[in-house]
């Protein structure tokens, strides 16, 4: 009797969860994220979040952020099943030299979750999206090369000043454009 009850509970949980939710890219999911305008706005807030994150700011502060954001929009759009193709750099090539660790990758995931929360994307849709992005961890996270193998600092840290396009406090949060 007790075993049957537990088995029934398990079955109900499983059936409910699997039947209630598809996986993989789909135009529906792309629309849940607000299509192209929604993704542009989401990626804006995502980048603002990363710039406020002390773990990630150093990786983006001197980067060409408008370009990175455009690449992210294309990649997210293609991943979600939208009418786009990601033609950017191979993920492995793009990240190999940074020695990015799990800590930084998880920080990025959390900033993305925060941005999706801000845009009121349902939690289950967020997870469908994250499930498709998760395998990228193996391309992005690399153990750092040993210190002696690292090239010497060839340029002074303040040699290049990139104009700050994002105010220190971040942009005021906009509701998603729908």
């Amino acid at each position: 009797m007790t075993r049957r009850t537990a088995a029934a509970l398990l079955t109900i949980t499983l059936a409910g969860a699997i039947a209630g939710c598809a996986s993989g890219p789909s135009p529906d999911l792309y629309q849940t994220f607000g299509g192209q305008p929604g993704l542009i706005s989401l990626v804006d807030d995502f980048m603002d979040g990363m710039m406020r994150d002390p773990d990630l700011r150093p990786y983006f502060v001197n980067a060409n952020r408008p370009h990175i954001k455009a690449e992210l929009v294309a990649q997210f759009c293609a991943t979600l099943g939208g009418p786009c193709e990601y033609k950017g750099m191979d993920m492995k090539m793009a990240h190999a030299r940074y020695g990015i660790g799990d800590h930084e990758f998880n920080a990025l995931v959390q900033d993305l979750q925060d941005a999706m929360d801000l845009h009121r994307i349902p939690y289950r849709a967020q997870n469908r999206f994250l499930a498709m992005l998760a395998p990228y961890r193996d391309d992005v996270v690399h153990p750092a090369p040993p210190p002696r193998a690292r090239p010497p600092l060839t340029i002074a840290p303040d040699a290049v000043v990139v104009p700050e396009t994002v105010p220190a406090g971040g942009l005021p949060n906009k509701p998603p454009a729908r």
Binding site: D55, N62, P135, D138, R150, L153
Partner: protein, 314 residues
């Protein structure tokens, strides 16, 4: 103290990276002229695991659900970090009370070392059995778990779960009494293998464990009885991720029933199951509330229990 250990590791790692905290890197997406530097913050002390991915703590001290271990390594540490948690759990049935507390340390998302103590209070039943009101059995448990393959959260492109092997050494402080009741020993070792998978697209967590054990009521009533053999028992959890801070699920744990065969005066030992809700308001804090059915424990009455657990860590 453990936090300090983590700090020190971080600092050593950062310090090892050249004389300066500034680390060189050209950002690949930036124009070539804009060679840039990436400086790692020197105070990355908060462990970096995603929220809830270290699980909560089961009654024997391993990271998992409430009753059964999961293959996850506890604590907030990633593959480059050390994390730790401490827990306190109170279980109350109509006739009995059990308090469990302990701590674990997770090393580089690879090895988990845990200690826990379970104190089982027989309350008035102890008096009825002639042991005295409030007679208590205390089980001290030292555990080790090693992740052997997979990543429960990130391997979303494969069906391979995270796999871990574990062992729990348990020592009962009432060795002579449990032997008088029919058990073979007051000490024992459980061996287990766990497989845990987060099906992220379905917002679902599944976990299964096979445990080789001689323990009666997890060791609170000693080890062995009618036989002194290891019994393979199945345990499982299924949980829905309701949002980033809320998980609800059910668990099941089968148990051997050897002590009642050795001593017909004792009620048979039943399997345990529960339904739980875990709330994780932050990375470092978890509250779990559960209804647990412990079945018959010594007496023929079925024990329905309220289970409350608090876990804090980094």
């Amino acid at each position: 103290m453990l936090g300090r250990f983590s700090d020190v590791r971080r600092q050593r790692r950062v310090a090892a990276w050249a004389g300066s905290f500034l680390l060189v890197a050209g950002l690949p997406l930036a124009p070539p002229a804009a060679g840039a530097t990436v400086s790692r913050p020197e105070d990355m002390t908060v462990s970096g695991k995603l929220i809830a991915t270290g699980g909560v703590t089961q009654v024997e001290g391993a990271a998992g659900g409430g009753l059964t271990p999961w293959a996850v390594i506890g604590g907030g540490g990633t593959r480059e970090e050390v994390g730790a948690t401490a827990f306190f759990t109170a279980v109350r049935t109509h006739d009995y009370g059990m308090n469990a507390y302990g701590a674990l340390i997770g090393l580089w998302d690879r090895v988990e070392l845990s200690v826990a103590q379970d104190r089982f209070d027989t309350q008035a039943i102890g008096g009825a059995l002639g042991l005295g009101d409030g007679y208590a059995f205390t089980n001290t448990i030292a555990g080790v778990k090693v992740r052997v393959a997979g990543d429960a959260v990130y391997d979303q492109d494969s069906w391979l779960p995270q796999l871990s092997l574990g062992a729990q050494y348990k020592s009962n402080d009432r060795g002579s009494l449990v032997k008088a009741l029919g058990a073979r020993s007051g000490d024992g070792v459980d061996l287990y293998a766990s497989a845990t998978k987060v099906l992220l697209a379905q917002s679902l967590l599944l976990s299964g464990t096979v445990r080789l054990t001689k323990a009666n009521q997890t060791g609170l009533l000693g080890f062995g009885g009618a036989d002194d053999d290891y019994h393979a028992e199945l345990e499982g959890s299924a949980a829905l991720l309701l949002d980033r801070n809320l998980v609800a699920g059910v668990e099941y744990r089968m148990k051997p029933n050897t002590l009642a065969h050795a001593n017909p005066g004792l009620a048979p030992e039943d399997d345990w199951y529960d339904a739980f809700v875990a709330w994780l308001p932050g990375k470092n804090l978890a509250f779990t509330l559960a209804y647990v059915n412990l079945g018959r424990v010594v007496t023929p009455t079925r024990q329905n229990a309220v289970y409350l657990s608090l876990q804090a860590g980094f």
